[in-house]
Structures are given as structure tokens and as C-alpha cells.
Symmetry: none
Subunit: 209 residues, 4 copies
DNA sequence: CCCTAAACGAGACGGTACGTCCGGTCTTAAT
DNA sequence: ATTAAGACCGGACGTACCGTCTCGTTTAGGG
């Protein structure tokens, strides 16, 4: 998420330039206290206990200051996560699709199997199911993640490792679907071994025949 | 969910046979009014508006009667769904894995793309993220669904259509993962075409080589 | 309270004699278990905690068995008290009004200053304020107590110790009013000394002039 | 009850002056709507029907706003009564104790025999029996009332109409005891004639001999 | 010895109110 | 204009009791 798309920027940057900005400016201290508080509370007690009141109290901030800059709890958490938690696995380039894919998925799985990270992702996903605004932010986040994977797979096609006919979106959604499904249901772990097997499976599906 | 695992059966069926059961028996009318109310409310207004108070009022039932037999809202909805909504696709047997798989996934996708069904599933999944009791019921539900798929895939292995070495659980979680991921994030549809492509991809991934 | 006015006698004694009575008879064990339970609970936890459910559970009795024989909680407690607690001071005859009155009031005060007794009386009085049935039973109880005092005072008038013109009901209500007021508000104790002073005051008020 | 002892004043007036008070101030509109609602409900339906929910609904107020400022239903009613109902008879000064006393008691009885007032007093007394916080407020209220009467009686002693040796508290509790006893049990009325007789009786008890 | 009737322990039922929590809005005084 | 503080209305939560209503069982006459 780029700085300019961050929710809740002060109106000054949006104003029609006639009136440049008047009054007190947004407090960066408040902003970061809020993000910290959200992460901390979500770490401590899990989704319960993460209330707007609690965030405000923990951050030493008025509730209005939260509502002024974020549309919903989910947005706060997601912004906190993406900014702080280093949740976004980098796109590697090892020379082969299988290796790239394995490396990317392994990094992603490792992250997601940290309970602190998983707790946050699961929370945001749950919020998104009844809060359209969280759904939108989550939509942007997941789209970005899918793009990373698309880069890898399309490079594979370009190198002629994977069939041009392969449906890349199908592969992507299998990969992230697998990840989220295990995270959300919790019936099986997200190990490095699973990442490797999944990567190989996906490549086998899309191999040039 | 079999009748005997239904939550909240009267103690008689559970008691160690010493004391056979005394007192008034569970009212089937109340039970079914509650399930109906839950489905109706979830259909009308989506997850918001599905409150215990509303269910009780709609069903003409005391709140305690709900709490007596179900641990949580999610459990009510899930039981209502599994009992009423015919959500469970049957395990077909067409002679070939690809056909079986395609048919199974197509039926499942068709179901899940009905907004009435999807709304309920998404609601239960969201609930499960902060309510352990819903998580447990959802766990049972998803385990059953995975078993259906496992039957198909293991039949494929038995018929030597699929490699014995294939990791069946990996395939299963790719399939259901794909389904849930698209349902929950909503970035792409669940069409019959996707079901077919997914089925073929999974088979190709597990083919005897 | 005489035996025949005890609430909840079996209909047999009321039936029009055509059909004498058939079926199981009232269980004395249940009756006394209920009264015991009421006293015990009121002793333990004070008015809170004295619920019909609790009485039934403590007595090992179905709730219906309580509702069958008593119209209200207050009635149970009052019957328990009058039957068990020996709450009714006897009417003494010492030869002089002042002595009789002092003795009667002292006995009454001593009783009422036992917290176990006072708790019960205060409970019944509170109940009576919003439950007409308790109010009625309490009315009977207090009427009886007033009659005891009336006997003493009218004997005083007969002996020419007190003026025939004295308003006996006024004196009685001053005495019991004093008692209840201190019991209910709790701002001052009910000592033997107070009983004596009160008795003397009342006698002085009603002396033949 | 003076304004400064009114329960639930904003912390500002209580705070140690370090932080002068910040945030929205207590809404006088809400406060008075609550008191009105309490009186109205108690007038309409008697103690039943006077629930916190009903008060909040009638006053158009959140329940929390009630709980924020009053410890209990009884406290609300008592504050409403003392503030609105003009329940406190003034201390007259007619020149003679008997006249003062008669006038005071007659006014008090007239008030208490209005069913609207009596209903409220009886309600508060009943509440006080199982709610310590109501008991406390009621204690303050009755203490104040006793003080009014004490002023009259001590003036009588000062003027040498009443014996210096008379136990003033004994007389006071006979008077208010009489009042409350008849109000609570309801076996006899509180007429002007009774007020006069009571006043004369009490004076006769305490006359200089 | 059965038959009918009533009382029993148990406990589920529809309701009402409770007191708490939280959401989202608003009003202060201060910066 | 924004901030921390905090009161406001609204509404869902889960619990506790209420008084009623079945249940199956037990205990009495009366035929």
C-alpha cells in the first residue's frame, strides 16, 4: 500500500489547492500509537478484546481520531500489518519457476504459520465478511499478493517453462486458496514441505506438454 | 452431521442409562423454528441482523432455549444449513476420476455460488475465527466435505488413474481452498468452467507418470 | 395462623364432599423441606439468593410443588417464620400495664434484633410492597400481633390504669411503627432499654388524667 | 438533598483540580428526562413496570446513561421524589410545640396519603431492603426528615414546654414509625385527625411534669 | 388387583429484565 | 482544525428467574 493510497490522509492533500490547509496537522504520533495498539491488542488477546475503545485507550487517543482516519477496525489492522509486519514475501528470481515458486510459497507459509501473523490475517478476513470497507482493503491487499505470484508464473511462461495456455489465475487461486483454507480452518499445518509439494504440483499442472 | 452428533440432544440419550431422563422433553417445534428463523434472517439481511435476540423473536422462542442447545450463533446456522440447505454435494461415480471430480466440483461450485448459500458459509467461517465453538462445528463440517473428495481421489488411485504417490490431502486442500478463497474474497466467480479447469488441473498434477 | 387457614391445603378439605379425595396425598416431607430451605437460604445470603428456583433445588423439590401450595415467595417465608421461628411474643400478665407492656416489647425487640429474624421480616415487608398476596399474609400476621398488644392495653383500661378515652390503635401503631421503622431503616438499635422507655412513654401518654 | 450531594456529578467537580475536566459534559436534559420517566412510570403502573429498560426507553436515553449516574433504581426514584415531589414538609413555627407538631405531622400525613407519593416511598423502602445503595440514600433522606422533627421538639424543650429529660429520638421514631407502618401495611388511614392525636400523644409523653 | 386420580421430582418452555459491553456520534477545552 | 477526553443514544450480549407446561413415576383410594 503506497503512502498516497493510505486511508485517512488529512484533507489538505485533497483540498482544491485554493485553501492550502488550516489548523492543526495530523499527528504522526497518534497514527503510529494507534497502529501499535492494534497490533499489540490483537497479539495479546486475539480478536476478542480488539475493540475501538480498547485501541483508543491503549494508544492514549480519542476514539474520534481513529474514526477520522480509518473507515473500520479491519482497515487499521491491515494497515498496521502491511506497514509493520513485513508480511509481503519478496518475489525471488532463482532461474527456474519451480524454485521461484517454492521459495515464494515457503516464505509466505513461514510467515502465515507465525501465530501472530495468522491471527491478524484471520481477523481481517473475518471482518471483511460483514464489513464492506474492510472487504475493500482486504481486496486490495490480496490483489497485490496475487500479482506477486502472477509475476513468477508469467515469467515461467515467458521462459517457456510453463505452457502459455495455462490459466494463471487458476494456479494462483489454488496456491492462496490452499494457504487461507489451512489458516482459517486450521486442520493442517503450513510447513515448508507443503510449500514445496504445492509448488511442484502447480508446476506439473502447467508444464508445457 | 448425523443425528447422533447433533448438538444439544436431551441428556437422556447421553446419560449413562442409570437415570433414563426425567422432565419435559426437548421441543422439536422450537428446534425447527429456531433453525428456520436463522436461515430466514440470514437470507433477509445478511450477517448483520442475525442476532440471538432476532432469532429468538422470529422463532417465537426464549433466548435461553437457544443457549440451552447450541453453543453459539455459528453452530445454529451451520446446523440449519447442513440440515436444510442440501449443501452437501453427492459423491458421483462416472467411471473416470476426471469426470467424477468435475461433476463433484461443479455441483459444489454451483451451490456455493448461490448467494444464499455463500452468505451462510461466509458467515460461519467468519464466526469461527473468533468463536472456538463455531470453529469446532465448522471443523467437523469441512472434514466431512474433505472426506467426500478423498473418496473420489482414492478411487482414482485404486483404479490406477492417479499416482499412488500423490498427496491426496494436498489436492483436496487445493480444491476446497480455491473454493473458499474465491467465496471469501469475492474477486472471481465460481463457474462450471472453473470447476472443470480445476478438476483437470488437479488430475494432471496427480497423474501416474 | 391456624392449621385450617394455612395456604395450600389439599382440595380434599375443600371439595364438595361428593368425591372425597383420590390420588396421592400432600407430602409433609416436601412441605417441611421447602420451609427449611426458605429459612436456610434467607439466613445464608439474605433476600438476594432467595429465589423459587433456589428453594426448589435446596429442598430437592419440583418448582410446581411450591406453586401448588403457596401463592408467593413471601407467603412461604412468612409461614416458615411463624411456624418455626417462634416469632410471636407471648402476652404476659404481670399485674401492671407498664410491666406487661415493657415485657412484651422487650421480648419483641429482642426477637427482632436477631439478624436472622429481622432479615426475614424485612424481606416479607419488602415483598408485600409489590405482591398483593404477600401483602395479605403480612396483613394477617401484623393484625394478629396488634391484637396481642391490644389485649394488654385494654386490660390496662379495664383495670383503670389507662384512660378509657385513650386511642388504643394509636398506641399500638406507635409501638409497632417504632419497631418496624428502626428495623427497616436501621439507623438505631432495638435494645431492652428502648423497649422500656417506649413502654413508659406510651403508658404516660394514655394515663388516666 | 443539596445540589452538591446529588449522586453522579461529573468528576470535574470532584477532581483534585489538577485536570479541570475534559470531554463532553453531563446532559441536564438526559438527567431530567430520566427523573421524569421514573416518576411517570411509577405513577402509571406502580412498582412493577418500573424497570431500568422502561425508564431508559421512556426517557429516550441509553441504559448506560442511567447506570453512569445512579447506583440503582431506588436512588433514581428517591432523587426524583425529593427534587420534584415537594415531599418535604416545612418546619412550622406557631408558638407552641403541640401546634407545630400537629401542623408538621398533618402536612406530612397529607402528603403520604396521596397514593402517588406513598407508592414512591413504599417502593424506595422495599428496594432498600435488598439494595444497600438504595438503603444508603434512603438513610440520608430519613435522617433529614428526622432532623426537621428534632428541630421542633428541641425548640419545645428550649421553651420549657417539653421536659429536658425526654428522649427526643424516641419520640421522633414513634412519629415516623407510625407513619411508615401505616403506609407499608395499609391497615389504617393517615388522616388529619390521626396527626393531631399523635401530636398530642407525643407531647403528653414528654411534658414537663 | 387393577383403575383412576392426584401429587411428586425433573426440567424444558416463552418471557422479561438485568447489568455490561461496544459502536458510532457528539461536545468540550486545549493545543 | 485537530487532539484527548468522555458523555451520549442505541442495541446485542449472555444470565438469572419467573410462572407454566409437560414428562414419567409414585402413591393413594375405590371398584
Amino acid at each position: 500500500m503506497t503512502s498516497s493510497s493510505r486511508p485517512g490522509l488529512p484533507p489538505a492533500e485533497v483540498a482544491p489547492a485554493g485553501r492550502p490547509h488550516t489548523g492543526r496537522q495530523r499527528s504522526e504520533a497518534a497514527r503510529s500509537a494507534i497502529l501499535n495498539a492494534a497490533l499489540e491488542l490483537l497479539g495479546d488477546s486475539g480478536s476478542a478484546g480488539l475493540t475501538i475503545d480498547a485501541i483508543a485507550a491503549t494508544a492514549g487517543v480519542g476514539k474520534q481520531t481513529i474514526y477520522r482516519w480509518w473507515p473500520s477496525k479491519g482497515a487499521v489492522v491491515l494497515e498496521a500489518m502491511t506497514e509493520r509486519a513485513g508480511i509481503e514475501a519478496p518475489v525471488p528470481d532463482c532461474g527456474s519457476v519451480t524454485e521461484d515458486l517454492t521459495s515464494f510459497l515457503a516464505a509466505t507459509f513461514r510467515n502465515a504459520s507465525k501465530s501472530s501473523v495468522s491471527r491478524k490475517l484471520r481477523f481481517v478476513m473475518a471482518e471483511a465478511q460483514h464489513d464492506p470497507q474492510t472487504a475493500e482493503v482486504l481486496g486490495e491487499f490480496t490483489a497485490e499478493r496475487r500479482n506477486s505470484l502472477r509475476v513468477i508464473l508469467e515469467r515461467g511462461q515467458a521462459r517457456n517453462e510453463l505452457s502459455k495456455a495455462a490459466d494463471v489465475d487458476l494456479l494462483i487461486d489454488q496456491a492462496f486458496g490452499f494457504l487461507w483454507y489451512r489458516m482459517l480452518v486450521g486442520h493442517a499445518p503450513l510447513t515448508r514441505r507443503m510449500a514445496k509439494a504445492l509448488a511442484e504440483g502447480l508446476v506439473r499442472q502447467a508444464l508445457v506438454r
